[in-house]
């Protein structure tokens, strides 16, 4: 029986696992969280169920159906709290090294999987651009605020400002409202011009994405009901306070996201939630050797196959498209990974849904994609790397003194990106500050900021406890002469 391993139990991974099982495969579904649903369907733990959970989630019934179908399927094994800490590329396929148990626990169980087919559905985390004061307590990534609201029913503050770019700001504001917070405004960096070009071009295509539009319309109704202003072409460009956010500066932005002088105003607030887009979690795809596009998403074909035989990808790592795209891609990937035909049956329907949802993703990028003018929000003393507290001024100074614009060198000489988050927060920002593409050696030595062979931190004791296996030499030794 063909063994399919799916990594990630968000919408893409759940759909992939179900499609693969329906296609006759034995399926193992891994997720680092202790429950299913991913970031999108993050919810209260089962032992503390919320009565009105469905009100907080779009397509909650879809989640329920997928969860129940997987639980009932005899060929599916769900492994929660499973951290895939590394992926080894073999001559054929891949080996996943997994630790199962509480992330901080001692003596986690080691699991080694060598599947016939691998579906990567590792998702994305939200990206926050730096601004003066962003290190203050009270500044949250929108994803963190959303997680607290959905998973813990905790509001991040009483007077909250939401800012950044993209449709994700709307559900975040909506979740905050439902936890009782007062949302002072939603400030969208994209101006009406970009929004119009992104959303109003080829309007006939939008008809197909009615589900998505309906979801967004629901969030907008929430904002209207609570009289929350939605302000395009604006950003929070600074946060202020003594040990805690007390106020933020909001300014109008031009088309390039540069602040328009004279439009700054201060607003009293005790929390600010920011999200400027998403960064795909590419560690496993890079370790597997999957080709990436110029905009650094995993390249897939019509059947969601990556450039590496035996590895499929679905969801946000193939492009930021939201839950509808992820569900459709997962269904196609799962079918293909199980050896099924993606040109017929449910996979064909899913494929069409995916095409529509992908158009939606392109619109998001066209309307809300990050523009370079944000660099002007920074001051010399603004921390770019929060782990190591490396400032914008220091990064520029080091780059100028050494004459190097290469990320790895500047990281090692300025310490930016070397801390515990391993440049997950600042890596792309650093690269953009240093000026874009770099010469690549095409090997492990290439300075890709997304390359992290150790996907998550691992206790040295857990590494030491791994079973010893016979050494296999991947390459026959070359003749020295």
């Amino acid at each position: 029986m063909r063994h399919v391993v799916v990594v990630g139990a968000g919408p893409a991974g759940l759909a992939a696992a179900r499609a693969a099982a329906d296609g006759g495969a034995r399926v193992t579904l891994l997720d680092s969280a202790d429950g299913l649903g991913g970031q999108y369907w993050r919810h209260m733990p089962a032992e503390r169920p919320a009565e009105r959970e469905h009100l907080l989630h779009h397509r909650w019934t879809t989640f329920g159906e997928l969860r129940d179908a997987l639980a009932a399927h005899p060929a599916v094994t769900v492994v929660p709290s499973a951290q895939v800490w590394s992926l080894e590329r073999l001559e054929y396929g891949a080996r996943l090294n997994v630790l199962v148990g509480e992330p901080d626990g001692v003596g986690r169980e080691a699991l080694v999987l060598e599947p016939d087919a691998l579906v990567l559905a590792t998702g994305a985390h939200d990206r926050t651009l730096p601004f003066p004061g962003w290190q203050l307590p009270g500044v949250y990534s929108a994803g963190a605020a959303q997680a607290l609201a959905k998973g813990e029913r905790v509001a991040v503050g009483r007077r909250v400002v939401v800012a950044g770019a993209g449709p994700f700001l709307l559900p975040v504001a909506s979740s905050l409202l439902q936890t009782g917070a007062s949302v002072l405004g939603v400030h969208e960096a994209a101006g009406l011009g970009a929004l119009g070009r992104g959303w109003l071009s080829r309007p006939w295509e939008l008809a197909g994405a009615a589900g998505k539009a309906g979801e967004l319309a629901g969030y907008v109704r929430d904002l209207v009901r609570h009289r929350v202003p939605w302000r395009p072409g604006e950003a929070v460009i600074a946060a202020h306070g003594d040990g805690q956010v007390e106020a933020v500066t909001i300014a109008r932005l031009d088309e390039r996201w540069a602040r328009v002088p004279g439009t700054e105003r201060q607003v009293e607030a005790d929390a600010v939630c920011v999200s400027h887009g998403f960064t795909p979690r590419l560690e496993l795809a890079i370790a597997a050797g999957c080709a990436l596009s110029a905009s650094r998403f995993v390249v897939v074909d019509a059947a969601q196959a990556t450039s590496v035989a035996g590895v499929w990808a679905a969801g946000e790592i193939t492009g930021i498209g939201g839950a509808d795209a992820a569900l459709a891609e997962g269904a196609v990937a799962g079918t293909a990974a199980a050896g099924g035909d993606t040109g017929a049956g449910p996979a064909l329907v899913a494929g069409r849904a995916r095409t529509r949802a992908r158009g939606f993703a392109a619109r998001i990028e066209a309307a809300h994609g990050i523009r370079g003018g944000w660099v002007g929000w920074l001051r010399d003393d603004t921390a770019v790397c929060r782990c190591e507290e490396t400032t914008y001024g220091r990064i520029r100074e080091v780059a100028e003194l050494t004459g190097s614009r290469e990320t790895r060198s500047v990281k090692l000489t300025s310490r930016a990106g070397l801390g515990p988050c391993q440049a997950r927060m600042c890596g792309r920002t650093l690269q953009e500050l240093l000026g874009g593409p770099e010469p690549s050696l095409g090997t492990a030595l290439a300075p890709a900021v997304d390359r992290r062979p150790l996907v998550v931190p691992v206790r040295l004791g857990d590494l030491a406890a791994l079973p010893q296996r016979p050494q296999q030499s991947p390459n026959p030794q070359e003749n020295p002469t």
Partner: protein, 418 residues
Amino acid sequence: MAADVVIVGAGIVGAACARALARAGARVTVLDRGAAASATSAHGEGNLLVSDKGPGPELELAKVSLHGWARLADELADELGPRFPSIEHEAKGGLVVVTSADGLDGLRGFAETQRAAGVEAVEVSAERARGLEPDLAAGVVGAVYYPQDAQVQPVAAAEALLASARRAGAVVRTGAEVTGPLLGADGRLTGVVTTQGEVPAGDVVVAAGPWSAEVAERLGSWIPVRPRRGMVLVTTPMEQRIRHKVYDGDYFAATQSAGAELQTSAVIESTRGGTVLIGSSREQVGFDDRLRAAVLAEMARRAVAVFPFLARTNVMRSYLGFRPYMPDHLPAIGPDPELDGLWFATGHEGAGVGLAPATGDLLAATMLRLAPAVDPSAYAVDRPTLRNHRPADVSDVQGTGVTRASDTSRGARGEART
């Protein structure tokens, strides 16, 4: 003589050569196909060691180089100013520990030969070793302390050497890959062809680390450098509990071996950033960059055997690099025996950072006919221990002809790398 020199490779060795030559008055251009200090130099630990070297030419070079780094640390700081990233030179000392009576005998004998060769190697009891490193494992039965062992931050050090070379007139061009030779009518090398055009030069120095064999071949010559892969683990930052460089007694055996199979030994130290670096491994797998969990596990076991408390620490990063390995464990520093105008400064295996200053000085002295600090014959490219690795006719092993630069450039680019 022609004063213009092209150096292929902007790693720590190329940077040291560039500084030495530029300050001696040569007009220097450094070429790198990638960025400066981005390959082998950026993927090691910055070790400046005498502890792992037995008596012989490598130790002699290391001793000179150790003084070179101490001097450079001051010179570079004076020259480049306090805002330039520190090269973090620190003579923290090394401690080699052993866990068995046999191991202790071997270590003692080795330390004695080192002392005779001028190395400070102080035998210490297990109790005294724990005074130096309170968290050592209970099983440690003895140790030798090497106060001369030191370190630098290798990327900052390479950037500082390059910045200093620039101030002496050197030019650094990154993103320029050498594709073939420029040859004079008499067959002498007169420069290189690169992806950014031709760069004429009186002399060409190959300082391309583990890629030197390929560069040499593209230029019409030969050097038996091969990649020897190593991995390093980095913990999350913590309060410093490890004060020296600490190795288990197997490190020396691993550095001196020629085996292709995996070898590991514990090399453990704290960094200024609060992380602990854990090495080391040695594998000959070509330029294969795939992670191997079994190697990490073996390194972890060895590290925990020396410092049990490390078992509870989190490793947040691993990286790997390729050392330039030579079959006789000595670097090649000097002129090519056959192709006039070609020079080498490569093959330092895991000791390139430590040996860089002395290598740069030796190369400059040989090229500019000054008095060298060490006898250059031991590092000569035509030394006896390399001769039997040399093919009968170098041109037989070349993938391309070398008659016209443009042909060579095309042929060399089309070749697949192993």
